[in-house]
Symmetry: C2
Subunit: 379 residues, 2 copies
């Protein structure tokens, strides 16, 4: 608990709520009668509203990207090392907007919200949301904030996919897109991991077809398994090796199925703490949005990208095996073929997919340099 | 169903049972009052008993490595492409012995067997078995067969670990060891995947602490998840890409959690068919044996290998990410440092860990060549 907030922190922040009171049609054809997005903002919006940056979060992220909610907070927002005064995404120059995605469980409309039609929680009746739906809902948020064009849309992993989709769907409303540790579509292996996670949740007897709220249960076992599995794919083998190796929790083998190895203890802890704050229906929805993401829909990505106008900054991490550098190369190739402006950096890192959350100097330098260039043009 | 068995098949085979009627002490300190091993053999044992090869199976394998159990059999044994007359492990020259591992569920003593002390199935009371225990039990089987020294011990994955352990524990009883698609110990990532699989089984409400037989249930959901997850790690991303890509099962996205992608359908099928024939307690036991495998116990592998006398043939597969070529390099380095005779081949293959079950010409050529050399020396 910081007695005083760090000088390079955005400080104490509070979530705002954006209410959209009209019907919102989704890619699936389903219509939400209305929706809300929880959102945090940091830094001053210029009078000409030209310095706004949209941060898109990943699978289990939320709108609390930076700063603290109270002086008693032990941890800042999830991208606090990136966002703040003097940080790579510099709130002295930029107005940063980070919404919780539609379908989430931390403030925005989602399965845990009350369905105005029934007065009950949506649960499994909350419609599936896609990456283009998120972009459309974020555009409505931008309208409400009076932001006609983002200086940048930035995201890692599923967040990077949103940045890419923004550039495709709303080319005039985005100056540059940072697509970090992402891919233009999920590989069958990615889908397979998601499928195991979903089966874990859906086969949990406490899931009750997604209506667990009404049964007073939560599919903790399934969600815990899903998170444990996901977590393995976020880390590199090297990271696990350096952090845990084959270290035993009790100094010697005990010949049983309770925790033997430190890595088991770590994974169980990750799973257990996740189920305390994340909703299983939201997890299902987010993984499906990942699976469905495919802006070229099996066709030519280069052709689809011809309609984009943004400058692209693609970043990958050497040890990321969930969305490996190879997947970024595919995107960069398509961007070049589509005649787009693109920079690409493969960042040296042993930390796996989670590298995108890590303050790696080379990585931060790239983000900082590009954004400083944009800030300079604003003066 | 073959009307006539293929000419290069070992033909119709039948499992034999080896009964060991004395107490057998395990690494854990637990003592089995007696045990049985189910076993198949192919090819003639020479009068001097010098042409015997031991095949060690992997996690979910069994003693039915080659041939057919009946003319109605639709599938031969799991390594039928490798073992038979004229095949790389040539039964015209060698007598091949393949036992089901202790703790298994397909004929050898294991959790589904009756505990002679109680008259009930062992269930979770069947003690944990380690790779050295398997080697010791296989040595007792060899004694019973009058085989004092194996011409070769051959195995892939967990089977390769047994071949390695044989060379360390009983150096005078093994002429050469084939360690295929294996490693000298599991990495924390390997352990982590096993841990998720075990948690899936153990948290299934139908598991009942492993006493599901008495409850008339089986932890199908958990075992299915474990198998689905395992299966992903057996295949390369490339294999999944070539076989399924992002192919949809119904031609279009249906916005739901039922099967959308062909890869999901395939995985579910793999999981579902596995639970029909494999026991969950055995699965737990086998994964723990994998975790525990560490012949150097954190010390110097090279030093431990100094006591071995066998010639080593280490093989890895380029696209195997469960036990990658890198893991074989570690072993080869230690073997050379320990002054052992070793050949190493990294086989070109896009099929991932499961390559070791695949009739890849380069791979089969290596096995064939080495064994032909041994057969020649026998003449």
């Amino acid at each position: 608990m910081p007695e005083q907030l760090p000088a390079d922190s955005v400080g104490l922040v509070e979530a705002e709520r954006f209410h959209y009171g009209q019907p919102f049609k989704l890619c699936s054809g389903a219509v939400l009668p209305e929706f809300e997005l929880a959102c945090e903002t940091y830094g001053q919006l210029r009078a000409d509203r030209s310095n706004a940056i949209l941060i898109c979060h990943a699978l289990s992220g939320n709108h609390h990207a930076a700063g603290y909610h109270s002086m008693a907070d032990t941890k800042p927002g999830w991208w606090d090392n990136m966002i703040g005064p003097g940080k790579p995404i510099d709130t002295d120059h930029f107005h940063v907007v980070c919404p919780n995605n539609l379908g989430g469980c931390e403030g925005s409309s989602g399965p845990t919200s009350i369905n105005p039609r029934t007065g009950q929680r949506y649960g499994p009746d909350f419609p599936l949301v896609t990456v283009p739906d998120w972009v459309a809902s974020q555009a409505l948020l931008a309208d409400a904030l009076g932001i006609t064009r983002w200086a940048a849309v930035i995201g890692g992993s599923l967040g990077g996919m949103q940045a890419l989709q923004w550039a495709i769907d709303l080319p005039d409303r985005i100056e540059c897109a940072f697509v970090i540790a992402a891919a233009a579509y999920l590989s069958p292996q990615n889908i397979a991991f998601n499928e195991v996670a979903r089966q874990a949740i859906r086969s949990d007897p406490d899931f009750h077809g997604g209506r667990y709220y009404e049964h007073g249960t939560t599919p903790k076992r399934g969600l815990m398994l899903a998170r444990m599995l996901g977590h393995i794919t976020y880390l590199s083998d090297d990271t696990l090796d350096q952090r845990f190796g084959r270290d035993l929790s009790h100094g010697h083998i005990r010949f049983g199925y309770d925790v033997e190895f430190e890595v088991e203890s770590y994974l169980r802890h990750q799973g257990q703490s996740f189920v305390e704050h994340f909703d299983a229906n939201s997890y299902l929805l987010m993984t499906r949005a990942l699976d469905y993401f495919d802006p070229a829909a099996g066709g030519s990505l280069a052709q689809v990208l011809e309609q984009a106008r943004a400058r692209f900054h693609v970043l990958s991490f050497q040890s990321d095996w969930r969305f490996s550098p190879h997947r970024s190369h595919e995107l960069v190739d398509a961007l070049m073929e589509g005649g787009r402006k693109v920079s690409y950096v493969e960042v040296e890192s042993t930390r796996g997919h989670d590298s995108f959350l890590t303050p790696i100097p080379q990585y931060h330098r790239v983000i900082r340099t590009v954004l400083q260039g944009i800030a300079r043009n604003r003066r």
